[in-house]
Structure formats: structure tokens, C-alpha cells
Amino acid sequence: MEPFTTLVSVPTPLLRDNVDTDLIIPAAWLKTVSRKGLGAGAFESLRKRPDGTPDPGCVFNRPQYRGSQILVAGRNFGCGSSREHAAWALADLGYRCVIAESFADIFASNAFKNGILTIALESADLARIAADAEAVRPVRVDLAAQTVTTADGTVVAFALDAFRKHCLLNGLDEVSLTLEKHAGAIAAYEEAARQRMPWAIGG
């Protein structure tokens, strides 16, 4: 995965609570065979009007937010089903960071597995970022320092699990981390298991 260090981007304002995984990626898109391309279905119900034409008022269609890599939302972002497709869809749209008041656990874990940084902020701090998003002003996310700097230079600190931070900073996915840290232990286990439970490992 691509390491995550700093990010400067105009945040996309999706200022509502309970953005659920169905809203992020509708169930009809779950029959895909790739992590790529899901951006086309992401937020479909917001982006398209009932007749299927793009809604120009939707933030995802507004040119000011084209290329945005940060999404700003309210409380309980990513609630609903455990589908990993929600994280894949956001990544495919180009998002590398979601800032919200809180996140559903499984979504946060899926986002992390796909290199997306989730930042939970208290409502007053979140309001500053949301204001920049609405005014189309860029903010700066610094993962090493664990800060978000608003357009006027205000520095907002955020908390983050040390393990996730390490993985994101170094672009380590869980597979490479396991291989890096435990390859020797896995080989030793297999060696011992061949003696101990040959029927289990011989299969």
C-alpha cells in the first residue's frame, strides 16, 4: 500500500450523521469481482436524480470538489453492513481520509485495511474543518504529528491507535506486516505441526 504521510486537500462536505454503507455503495454493486471501479456506484443515490441523470447540486458532482481526497461527515460514519466494498468505493473515488465525529467499528477497520485514515474529532473541531470544506479551502493532514491544520492555520490534534499509525505511515498492509514480523514463527509452527499433527498439515 502507498504510505500515508501528509495530505493537503479541499475536504468534501458530506455533513450528515449515520452515513451508512448502503449509501456509500448500494447492494447492487456487491457482485463485482474487483476492488477497482466501485467509485462509479459510490453515493449513487445522492449523485443521481431519480431519472438517472447527475444531480449538479450534489457535492460529489461539484467541480470545486473534484480530486478531493478528504471526506468530512457527522456522527456514526459507515454504519450498517460489514461490506468491505464501502472502503473500496471510497478509495476508488480517490479518498484517503475521512474526518467525522465518530465511526462504525467495522467500517473503521475496513478503511484502515485499505489505507484510508479515519479521524474522529469533537464537534467543535469538526465544525472548523466543515467550514473550510464548505468554503472550498484546503486543509492539511499530518499523520506523523497527528494533526489537521485548517486553512487559517489552526492546528487540531487527533488521537490514533499506534499500530494503525505505524502501518499507515509505512504503507504496510496486514499481510506484509504478518510476513515481516512472523514469517519465522509460521515456518517453525509448520515444522512442529508436521511431527505433532501430520493429518492436519499434510492435507
Partner: protein, 484 residues
């Protein structure tokens, strides 16, 4: 930490079956209750694997032990004769992609026309891939089925599928231990499916959250392997991470001689080892539930959650009668979706369709139970379709050798090719909107059998009884009248 040679904790404390399997598979103990756990067997199907293979390819990683994995197709495949093309282009794509991926990574694959093809949780045990004491995973929540053999088996997500393919391990947090003890024996006409529904009805769909369940007691010991698989299968509907049954003579008799089971001296050594897996006397369970088998009757679900279940002799409940207001609201919403009025006798509910199949109830014993009811009877006039779908090619051949297919056909049922079929609305076998189906599957969720479909979960014998009556019927009465 424990000592894998003795199965006991190093401090000598008695261990549960789950503790023993966990302890044997620790590759690295990470402290804080989590560990890197070795995975012995990995089952792969067409729906949850494409993105895992895609990631391996992008990262240029091989599969660590291709021989530990078996892939097959079940969710998407039509159950009509296998020489016809697959019409749904997305399903066809997922199937052909699995064919390519398994070839590229050197993984054994049972294709759609393989005589052993079938539902992943039916085929694994048949081949003897499922053995006591193993860790088994699959990108499918009903992997819990394999726990019937005393294997620690559970469903995983797509990123974890990739992790297992690449490393043969998973990073796991240990669950808590829960024991469900079922005393007494099940009355005649009451099956493992009724037992599973009774347990879920008693503890709720969140009853085992955070726990691995061990099923124990006289009624569980008395179950056949087929019955045990039905019970373990629905552990996930009780909220459990996995469900376990300690291996015993029934288990060994089922496994001996299976293609992938150990042979000769290795078999003897394995059985001796498997006998040590049972929970030690005095092992501590974080939670224990006791159920009396003698009180269980044939059951029917009335709502959109497996816990919304009543005896076939009962009535549809009134949402106003629930002590918990949230449960009352859920009941009202379920009745609205199901098109049912409070107070309606269950036996008064007419059905449109019947589905006998799924990884819960598509094994030979299930088909025998259904055929015993269909023998000499006809599907009732108002019933539009009765699908009987064997869980695997092996089940199909066995059923045909016993003449069960002829009984089903003579009664007016459709006898199909193996697959998940109408268990979920992902292949052509669907229940149309608003229609009511008596189903032997495991989930009665909104839209599970197709948009707007109304599902009632029952045992195979009860599904057959509903088919010949046109409405739910207590199979115990029918069986007596028909002399079965």
C-alpha cells in the same frame, strides 16, 4: 499459555475444547488476548474470493500452501441441468474468474460439472477435509457448520481470505467460552433443526455474541453427524463466532475412509489424539445455558429473524404482548413484512412455495426425512413450486440410489442439481415478492430469498408436511395418519 502436548494449560487448569484447539494453533502470542493463529484448511467460493486474489496478484504474492485450500462454486450456480449456459453475466464472470484464479495459484477447484461439486459446507466434510481439532475458515458465515466435528471453524471477510491465502494464518482475538447443554432426548418428529431454532429462540440472535459455543448433553450426543452439522450451522444465527461439538465414535465412524481423511496407522494416531479434545471435567465456561430436549416441538419462524419462532401448534404473537418495547416494534415490523395478523394459528398459514436444501438441511438424512413424508402423497394444489436441492453431487447420487428422487418427482417436487439455490437470492432460484415459502435454510431476513420474499424456517420433515398440506402442519400428526 498452554502446553500443546498435553492440551492442558501450563498451570494445569482444566481446558475447554475451544481452549485446546486455540492453544494448539498459536503461532505467536501477541499478549492482550490476541494471537496469530494457524489455519489448517481454507475453503473458497466464487463470491467472496475475487478481490482477495486480485490483491495477491497486485502485490505479487504467492499462495503459501495451495494444498490447504479447496475452491468450489455454489452461491451463484443455477440448479438446472449443468449443460445449460449461465444466464446471469455477473455470476458467469465470478465463476470463470475463480476457475482462472485457482489455476493460476495452484489451488484444487471443483468446477460446476465436477461430480463432487456442491455447497462448500456439505462438500468439505464429505471429502474428509473437515477433521476434529483443525482450524477451518471460509469467506462465508456458515463455516460454523464444520464445528460439528470438533473443528474450530468460522467465517471471514475478503481481506482475511487474502491474509490466509498469503500467510496461512489469521490475527485473532480469543472469544469467550459458552456451553449449551441439551438434556434428555428429542421426542419423535423433532429434529436437529428444531433444536437449533429452540436454542436461538431461547437465547436470542445476540445470545452468544463474543462467544464460541460448545454444544453438549445427551440430546447432542444422540445426534447423527448430519444433525450435528445442522445444529452447528446455525451457531452464527445465535450470534456465536463458532459452534463446537466434541468428537466421538459417531464422528470417527463418519470420517473413516473419506478421501482426504488420514489412513492406516495415521488414522489410529489421529483418533487417539482426537479423543483427548473433549473439554476437561471442571473446565470453566463464561456462560452456560441448559435446554430440556423433551420440551421441544416442531418449530416454525413467523418473523424476519430466526429468534422469532413458535411451536407449529402455536399462534402468531401479538406485538403488544412483548415486555420489551423494542422487541414489540421489531415484531410489528416483521408481521407487516410477512403479511401476518397477530393471533393467527400457525397451522392456518397457507404457503406458496417450499424449499428443501441449503447447507443447513440438504444432506442425505434431511432428504430421507422429507421423502418419508412425500411418499404416497402429492404436493397440495395451491403450492406453486417445491424445490428439492441436494447439497452436493454425492448427496444427489446417494438419494437417487435410494430412489428418493422418484418419490419427490412423483409427489410433484422439482429435483435439482446441487447448489445454494433459494437459500439466498443470488442465483435464479428465488421466491417472488409477497410469496410465502416454507424453507429449510437458516435465514429468514427481509429479502433473503429474493426481494419481498416471505420466509418461514422449518425442518425438512415440516417443509414436506407443509408442501403436501398447502399450509403449515404438525408433521407428527401427518406422520401418524400416513403410517410413516
Amino acid at each position: 499459555m498452554s502446553d500443546p502436548r498435553t492440551n492442558h494449560s501450563r498451570n494445569g487448569a482444566p481446558a475447554t475444547l475451544y481452549d485446546k484447539i486455540w492453544n494448539r494453533h498459536v503461532v505467536s502470542d501477541l499478549g492482550d488476548g490476541s494471537a496469530l493463529i494457524y489455519i489448517d484448511r481454507h475453503l473458497v467460493h466464487e463470491v467472496t474470493s475475487p478481490q482477495a486474489f486480485e490483491s495477491l496478484r497486485l502485490a505479487g504474492r504467492p499462495v503459501r500452501r495451495p494444498e490447504a485450500t479447496l475452491a468450489l462454486v455454489d452461491h451463484n450456480v443455477p440448479t438446472t441441468p449443468r449443460d445449460r449456459p449461465i444466464e446471469d453475466p455477473l455470476a458467469a464472470k465470478q465463476i470463470s474468474l475463480l476457475r482462472e484464479n485457482t489455476a493460476a495459484f495452484g489451488i484444487a477447484f471443483l468446477d460446476i460439472d465436477d461430480p463432487r461439486q456442491g455447497i462448500v459446507h456439505v462438500v468439505g466434510p464429505e471429502l474428509g477435509l473437515t477433521l476434529p481439532g483443525l482450524t477451518i475458515v471460509c469467506g462465508d458465515s456458515h463455516t460454523s457448520t464444520h464445528g460439528a466435528f470438533g473443528a474450530l471453524a468460522f467465517g471471514i471477510g475478503t481481506s482475511e481470505v487474502e491474509h490466509v491465502l498469503a500467510t496461512q494464518t489469521l490475527l485473532l482475538r480469543k472469544s469467550r467460552n459458552m456451553r449449551v447443554r441439551v438434556d434428555g432426548t428429542l421426542p419423535p418428529g423433532v429434529t436437529a433443526k428444531d433444536l437449533a431454532l429452540a436454542i436461538i429462540g431461547a437465547i436470542g440472535t445476540a445470545g452468544a455474541t463474543g462467544h464460541v459455543i460448545e454444544y453438549a448433553g445427551e440430546a447432542v450426543r444422540a445426534l447423527s453427524m448430519e444433525g450435528r452439522m445442522t445444529l452447528a450451522n446455525m451457531s452464527i444465527e445465535a450470534g456465536g463466532r463458532a459452534g463446537l461439538i466434541a468428537p466421538d465414535e459417531t464422528t470417527f465412524a463418519y470420517l473413516e475412509g473419506r478421501p482426504r481423511a488420514p489412513k492406516g496407522a495415521l488414522w489410529e494416531r489421529a483418533v487417539a489424539d482426537w479423543r483427548t479434545l473433549a473439554s476437561d471435567p471442571g473446565a470453566v465456561f463464561d456462560r452456560e445455558v441448559v435446554i430440556d430436549a423433551r420440551e421441544i416441538t416442531p418449530l416454525v419462524t413467523w418473523g424476519t429473524s430466526p429468534e422469532q419462532v413458535v411451536p407449529v401448534t402455536g399462534r402468531v404473537p401479538d406485538p403488544d404482548d412483548f415486555a420489551d418495547p423494542a422487541a414489540g416494534r421489531a415484531a410489528a415490523a416483521a408481521l407487516d413484512y410477512m403479511g401476518l395478523e397477530p393471533g393467527t394459528p400457525i397451522e392456518g398459514i397457507a404457503i406458496d412455495r417450499v424449499f428443501i436444501g441449503s447447507c443447513t438441511n440438504s444432506r442425505i438424512e434431511d432428504l430421507r426425512a422429507a421423502a418419508a413424508v412425500f411418499r404416497g402423497r402429492k404436493v397440495a394444489a395451491g403450492v406453486r413450486q417445491v424445490l428439492v436441492v441436494p447439497g452436493s453431487g454425492e448427496v444427489k447420487r446417494q438419494a437417487e440410489a435410494e430412489g428418493l428422487d422418484r418419490i419427490f418427482r412423483a409427489a410433484g417436487c422439482e429435483w435439482r442439481e446441487p447448489g445454494c439455490s433459494a437459500c439466498l437470492g443470488m442465483n435464479p432460484d428465488k421466491v417472488p415478492p409477497g410469496e410465502r415459502c416454507a424453507s429449510t435454510s437458516n435465514r429468514n431476513f427481509v429479502g433473503r430469498q429474493g426481494p419481498g420474499a416471505r420466509t418461514h424456517l422449518v425442518s425438512p420433515a415440516m417443509a414436506a408436511a407443509a408442501a403436501v398440506s398447502g399450509h403449515f402442519t404438525d408433521v407428527r400428526r401427518l406422520a401418524t395418519a400416513g403410517g410413516v
